[in-house]
Structure formats: C-alpha cells, structure tokens
Symmetry: C2
Subunit: 132 residues, 2 copies
DNA sequence: GTATTTTTGCAACACTGTCGCAAATATTAA
DNA sequence: TTAATATTTGCGACAGTGTTGCAAAAATAC
C-alpha cells in the first residue's frame, strides 16, 4: 500500500509532511525514532508535526510504537496485525521486526484483558554477530 | 533477602539512600519509576542518587528495567532469572510481573544472539476490569 | 474560487536521565 | 576508635524527548 493510499484509508489529510513521513516508514525495515525521521526528511517538516503524525498513525494502528531500552520510542510499520516480536541490537542499535518468530499464545490470568503487546528481545543481530 | 543482604552480596556500599530504595522495591509488587520512588522516599535522597542506584541494580540484575509505553522507565525486583512478561494497565497505570505466565521458548533466526528480554502486555488489569 | 476545516510551524514548556565536581559518608586498616 | 582512603551524594547544569496553545498556512468541501 502506498503512503497516499494509507492516508486515504484512514481519512487523514494528505499533507506533504505526512506523505514523506509515511514513505520513510514504508521504505524502512527497521524501526525509526522521531529524530531519525527528522534527519532523513532533512527539515521538510517540524518536530511537532512528526510527533503528531506518529501519534496519529499509532492510534490508527498503521505503525507500532516500540518502547526501547533508552528514552526514545521507535516506530515501525505494522506488517501483520498479530502480535510479534521486535529485536534490538545493542551493537548497531537497530530495532527490527522478527517476522516468522511468533510468541506462543500467552494466556493471561483471569480478569486481565489484553489490548496490545510490546515484545522486545535485546541482543546482537545477525549482521553484528558476524563481526565478533 | 533483605536490602542490606543484597547490598552486601553485590559489594555495594550500604548507604542510607540505597537501603531505602531497595526496601521500597522489595516491598512493592508493581514496578516503580524514579519519580514514584522519589515520592515514596519523601526526599530522603536526590534524583541523581535514585537514578544511579537503579542503574547499578539493573546492571547487577537485581532489578528489571521495564520500558513502558511512555517515556518513563519502571523498575521491579527480579524474582526469577527467567524471561517473563510484564503487564501494564492503561487504566490505573500499574506495571506488574505476570508470574506464572511464561512466554513460549522463542527461537530466533540464525545468527541472532539473545541477551535480555522486555515483554510487555498492555491492557486492563483484573482490578480495573471489575469496575467496567 | 471561496469558505471551512484541518494541519503546520513556532515557541515555550515539563519532564527524564546524565554528568562533573566538591562535600559528605562509608569502608578499611592501624 | 581514629585517621586514611575510597566511594557515594547532592547540587547544578545540561541535552534530549515529547506535548501544547496559537496564529498562519494548507488542504478539503462546496
């Protein structure tokens, strides 16, 4: 799906900034922070706009907000609606989707209602592991 | 294990602040942020001290640093060394340990090395679910 | 093309987490 | 117990994240 297509689907105004932000996310196989997006967009839009767009896209479930170890949140396109795991490399810092690695169906204790998941494995990614 | 016991075990100086911080963590079944600790300690020690202590305890694997949805990290005593899941309630904000709920053994793709996990389920906890 | 609605950029803000440094406290050894 | 040494603390300053109000700008609706 294209950036414009997604914006149409969710009835969001097609502004220059939003299209560019979405394009970056569509073209990235790793999760990006607001900072990283800002760098890639080279000042096409304001910090606040990026934050607002990311918040909106997260709310619409187009992207996934990943709380990583540090203070910064990273965002990645939701490829599948199912729960899945993300991997953060402590070496290169990349956060990526672990497609194919499915967390077993987790049964919560009685009374708990699951809305969303944030599964993160921290370690060394395959690329970095080669150089050790 | 007592606060003093833990400090001895890890060869950490037994300062007033550290003992109090550890006692709070030992007495809490939910994860606490630096802010929450500060409130509970009523100014017994400085922000910086709390942060430093939490960092050290995390490094020693005494506590677990949980990256929650927002910007703030929360900390909880490590009851078991195994991977386990934490649950964050969007209603009351509490983050707790889901003992008994074990994530299936997750197999990573070839080359990836796991060091640590951060599994968080977001939803409504049993207490809050009652009042809906 | 104009009117209306939505979004943007800017500036200001609160908050988190870190750090250097001198003073205070804890540990060690006598 | 005291003096010497090592560690930790509090303070202030700082960089960074994420949010918000508001007027200007852009997008949508008519």
């Amino acid at each position: 799906m294209t950036a414009i297509g997604i914006l149409s689907k969710y009835k969001m105004s097609k502004t220059n900034g939003r299209v560019k932000i979405l394009k970056e996310l569509l073209g990235s196989d790793v999760a990006l922070s607001e900072r990283e997006l800002q760098t890639r967009l080279e000042g096409i839009c304001d910090r606040a706009t990026i934050y607002r767009t990311l918040k909106l896209l997260t709310k619409k479930s187009v992207i996934h907000k990943i709380a990583t170890e540090g203070t910064v949140a990273k965002f990645i396109l939701k490829k599948t609606p199912e729960d899945h795991i993300h991997f953060k490399c402590t070496d290169c810092g990349k956060v990526q989707c672990m497609t194919g690695v499915v967390p077993g169906n987790i049964e919560l204790p009685k009374g708990f209602i699951k809305k969303e998941t944030n599964y993160l494995i921290i370690g060394i990614c395959d690329e970095c592991a080669k150089n050790i």
